[in-house]
């Protein structure tokens, strides 16, 4: 029962990842593209958390934490550079 639920969840999150990647390519403005890239990274974090819940290994959540921090830094840097032409 639980294996079926986690399997369906993994397939569904992969479909959401593909939809977000299409949204990154087809975005009209650069800020929408930055926003969609942030969403892509959060979907990847959710995929890693689901995979960690299926296998029971804790170190996949380490990769999820690193991805969340990197997406935060890259989103802030890209948005600030796009609006003010400087990061700091």
């Amino acid at each position: 029962m639980h294996e079926i639920v986690y399997y369906i969840a993994t397939v569904w999150m992969t479909a959401l990842l593909c939809v977000c990647l299409v949204m990154v390519v087809r975005a009209k403005s650069a800020l929408t593209r930055i926003l969609a890239l942030d969403a892509v990274t959060l979907v990847l974090v959710a995929l890693l958390v689901i995979y960690s819940a299926t296998t029971g290994k804790g170190y996949y959540i380490d990769a999820a934490i690193l991805l969340a921090l990197l997406s935060f830094i890259s989103t802030v840097a890209a948005a600030r550079y796009h609006s003010e032409r400087r990061i700091f």
């Binding site: 029962m1 639980h2 639920v5 986690y6 969840a9 569904w12 999150m13 959401l16 939809v19 977000c20 949204m23 403005s29 800020l31 929408t32 930055i34 926003l35 969609a36 942030d38 969403a39 959060l42 979907v43 974090v45 959710a46 958390v49 689901i50 960690s52 819940a53 029971g56 804790g58 959540i61 380490d62 999820a64 934490i65 969340a68 921090l69 997406s71 935060f72 989103t75 802030v76 948005a79 600030r80 796009h82 609006s83 003010e84």
Partner: protein, 115 residues
């Protein structure tokens, strides 16, 4: 019995994340897309992270709590950065009754009074 509750949480997280991605696609405006991305997707990730605590292992539970704390702290900052960039670049609101309440982008032919 409690395992089925975690299955319900998995379905709930999937539903919330699907709504968030659908909102990013279908919302007409940058600010509304920001609303969908910053609230809905993060809440979906946190509900899914709650299901990883079903294993009752200490390492998984501690890392899940750390992940939730990091998401709670960093997501408002990044969404505020994107919204500020949109405001500085004169990104238009597409809803019909939208009013820029800061008044810093008023043109010369627009009246000085605001609603």
């Amino acid at each position: 019995m409690s395992a089925y509750i975690y299955d319900v949480f998995v379905v709930l997280g999937l539903l919330v994340m699907t709504l968030g991605v659908f909102g990013i696609i279908r919302m007409p405006d940058l600010y509304m897309k920001l609303h969908a991305a910053s609230k809905t997707v993060v809440l979906g990730v946190m509900v899914l992270a709650l299901t990883a605590t079903a294993l009752h292992e200490e390492s998984v539970v501690a890392r899940t709590i750390l992940l939730c704390l990091i998401l709670v702290v960093t997501t408002p900052v990044s969404s505020h950065a994107v919204g500020r960039a949109g405001f500085l670049l004169h990104e238009r609101m597409s809803s019909p009754g939208a009013v820029d309440e800061s008044g810093s982008h008023l043109g010369e032919d627009t009246p000085t009074w605001r609603l």
